[in-house]
């Protein structure tokens, strides 16, 4: 009888110890599964899940020396900042998650800063880029990106100058990110002595750009800057081919980074300049290629060149910080703020909320992939003149 009792106690103890060791780390985030951002947000979710699967396959997340499996808790925020606030509040107070990952896009990042500050819960952001972020005096959020419209505009103007551009046409979608870029690129071009011969906005729900691009053609600029979102980037490309915009310098802001763009345009997109600070072609970022290959193997599509790598960078930073600091919020905050991390996008180091180790860059599609072409010290390929449309 006694022996049975002891065995039972031993078994229970062993069970509880085992359960404790195996207790997964709960990581929460809100996802824009539906609504305005759903299409753009998918690759962030895919990068998160790829990381979770990789970490679990390697035995779990290293929490200051103990390996624990990773478990996600996520809810659909319907692309609504208000919903995201409620979700992060719930994740922290009700689900009691151990760690947080970022929602998608600038507006949702900005919305949840208050929640993070109130609960002093550190979170590494990713897919947000607006000059507003730099002004944030927050202690619990960090941004690994360098896609800031002001710096991006200066870098682009320098590249255009280098390519011998004297005049440019600018067509801009009336959505926030493209408008913010426009507000900085217009003075940057002026400062660089580049004359703006067309400067027109178009609404996001546009279905045809023929008339606008005909105006661009008639103005005969040296360069065309199409500040698009992905959907109208397709309209630009088709329109530019039909109208016959033969400029050797053509910039398409948002669109060329995505897998679908390559599927439609194939070689026709070679020579298009675009934004982006990541490429699997960088030899000094060996894990960049590993990530690209793993992403492709897992999701049967190439990662985009902006959101997927940024999302992955943010979880890499979190992973390295947790290995060092464990799950204690204060220690974690200190570690994230004061460490240099190795990521698929090179080293990351924060001053305030910004990653100061990553310069702003301009990319170009060459041979079916995206290369960094500017500034010269960062480039993986020389910028080329855009070949004639086939």
């Amino acid at each position: 009888m006694m022996k049975k009792f002891l065995t039972a106690i031993a078994a229970a103890l062993a069970g509880s110890i085992a359960a404790n060791a195996a207790e997964p780390v709960k990581i929460g985030f809100s996802e824009s599964k539906t609504g305005l951002f759903a299409q753009a947000a998918t690759s962030q979710y895919q990068a998160y899940n790829l990381w979770r699967e990789q970490v679990n396959a390697a035995g779990g997340l290293d929490v200051a020396g103990t390996k624990r499996k990773v478990e996600f808790v996520s809810y659909d925020d319907q692309s609504n900042p208000g919903k995201a606030v409620q979700i992060y509040e719930k994740l922290i107070t009700d689900d009691k998650v151990d760690l947080l990952l970022a929602p998608w896009g600038t507006s949702l990042h900005l919305a949840i800063v208050g929640v993070l500050e109130r609960y002093k819960f550190p979170m590494v952001g990713n897919t947000a880029a607006s000059v507003q972020l730099r002004k944030l005096k927050a202690a619990n959020i960090w941004f690994p990106t360098s896609l800031f419209p002001d710096r991006q505009s200066d870098v682009l103007a320098a590249l255009l100058k280098d390519r011998g551009v004297g005049s440019a046409a600018l067509v801009t979608n009336q959505l926030p990110y493209t408008q913010e870029n426009k507000s900085f690129v217009v003075p940057a071009l002026k400062k660089a002595g580049i004359e703006l011969v067309v400067n027109e906005d178009y609404p996001p729900n546009v279905k045809d750009l023929t008339a606008l691009l005909t105006k661009v053609k008639n103005a005969k600029p040296d360069a065309v800057l199409a500040y698009t979102y992905p959907a109208d980037a397709v309209l630009y490309m088709n329109g530019a081919r039909e109208v016959g915009l033969d400029q050797k310098v053509q910039v398409v802001l948002l669109g060329p980074q995505y897998d679908f763009f390559g599927k439609i345009f194939g070689a026709a997109r070679n020579g298009i300049l675009t934004m982006g600070h990541w490429t699997p072609a960088r030899k000094d970022w060996p894990s960049a290629k590993t990530f690209a290959d793993a992403f492709k193997a897992r999701w049967k599509t190439d990662p985009d060149f902006v959101d997927a790598p940024l999302a992955y960078v943010s979880v890499e930073i979190l992973q390295q910080a947790v290995a060092k600091a464990g799950l204690d919020k204060d220690k974690l905050r200190e570690t994230i703020a004061g460490t240099t991390f190795a990521t698929i996008n090179g080293p990351a180091r924060f001053e305030g909320v910004m990653n100061v180790a990553l310069p702003t860059m301009i990319s170009q599609i060459q041979g079916g992939t995206q290369h960094i072409v500017w500034p010269p010290e960062e480039r993986t390929a020389e910028a080329i003149a855009k070949p004639a449309w086939k």
Partner: protein, 296 residues
């Protein structure tokens, strides 16, 4: 100054009109015969787009062929939606009183379910494929072959629809139902059957439109809604329930979009479109091309 008589602008306007016309035709047919506001119309188009995408990606068969499959499948789906959902609403004496509002709510639900079902099955990632994207030179201007194909098929289908509704017995019965529902019943039109046919035809045309649109832009679960809105603008311009008027309305909308931008600036596009839209609602609620008989 931009040359308003250039073939480049004309072809752009015609292609756009063909798309709008086709999308609006199906919506108008369903509204005309049953007063059902099918806000899920864009989602049927989206399903057509996915069908074309997957058929092309998996088998290499282009949308010019898969549109026949889309026609059949979307038509069958329309029949199923009609039988399971819409017929109940049309038969219920309580719901029929405010059929427009009730059908709007019902089909709005269908639209959300379809969007999210597709987003869950295929993810929300935009997808696209290259098809007939060579440049064709016609006189002084050039156009991609896929846009010419869209224009050709759009025109052919519109013509076929006009002939169908003018010449065939079924088409005439459906038109009778649109113009004088009570009289149509009195002279022995099989209302139930005609409604079923009209509903599934409406869906079928939307499916085909989706196949064609997938040649020109990327497909995603949320691509449909802007087309639903455009189609509503078109049929209000052309006259609710007026099928030929709808085609003319599509031409008007496309012309505003292309020539309006050419004459003013691109940022004026929405202001021009909705300005004309509101003006028509205020001064010609029966539509630019609607006869008095269609005013209720």
């Amino acid at each position: 100054m931009i040359d308003l008589f250039s073939g480049q602008l004309l072809i752009a306007a015609l292609v756009l009109a063909a798309i709008y016309g086709l999308v609006a035709l199906g919506l108008n047919l369903i509204y005309g015969t049953m007063r059902l506001l099918n806000v899920a119309h864009g989602e049927i188009l989206m399903l057509g787009g996915y069908l074309a995408y997957w058929t092309f990606t998996l088998t290499g068969v282009g949308p010019v062929w898969s549109m026949f499959l889309a026609l059949a499948l979307a038509g069958a789906f329309g029949a199923a939606v009609y039988r399971t959902l819409c017929r109940r609403v049309l038969r219920s004496s309580r719901l029929i009183e405010q059929i427009e509002a009730n059908s709007l709510l019902l089909l709005f639900g269908v639209s959300i379910i379809l969007q999210n079902a597709v987003a869950l099955s295929f993810t929300a990632t935009a997808r696209a494929y290259p098809y007939l994207d060579d440049i064709v030179r016609i006189g002084t201007f050039q156009v991609t072959a896929d846009r010419l194909v869209v224009l050709g098929i759009g025109l052919a289908l519109s013509l076929a629809a006009i002939l169908f509704f003018r010449l065939s017995a079924t088409g005439l019965q459906i038109r009778a139902l649109i113009q004088q529902p009570d009289a149509a019943l009195l002279v022995g039109v099989d209302v139930e059957r005609m409604r079923l046919i009209a509903f599934s035809l409406g869906f079928a045309i939307a499916g085909v439109a989706g196949c064609l649109i997938s040649m020109l832009e990327q497909v995603s679960p949320f691509m449909g809604f802007p087309f639903t809105i455009a189609a509503f603008v078109v049929i209000i311009l052309g006259g609710l329930g007026n099928l030929a008027g709808g085609l003319a309305g599509a031409l008007v909308l496309a012309a505003i979009e292309v020539y309006g931008v050419a004459l003013t600036t691109a940022s004026m596009r929405s202001i021009l479109i909705y300005g004309v839209f509101i003006a028509v609602l205020v001064w010609r609620p029966q539509g630019l091309f609607g006869g008095r008989s269609l005013v209720r």
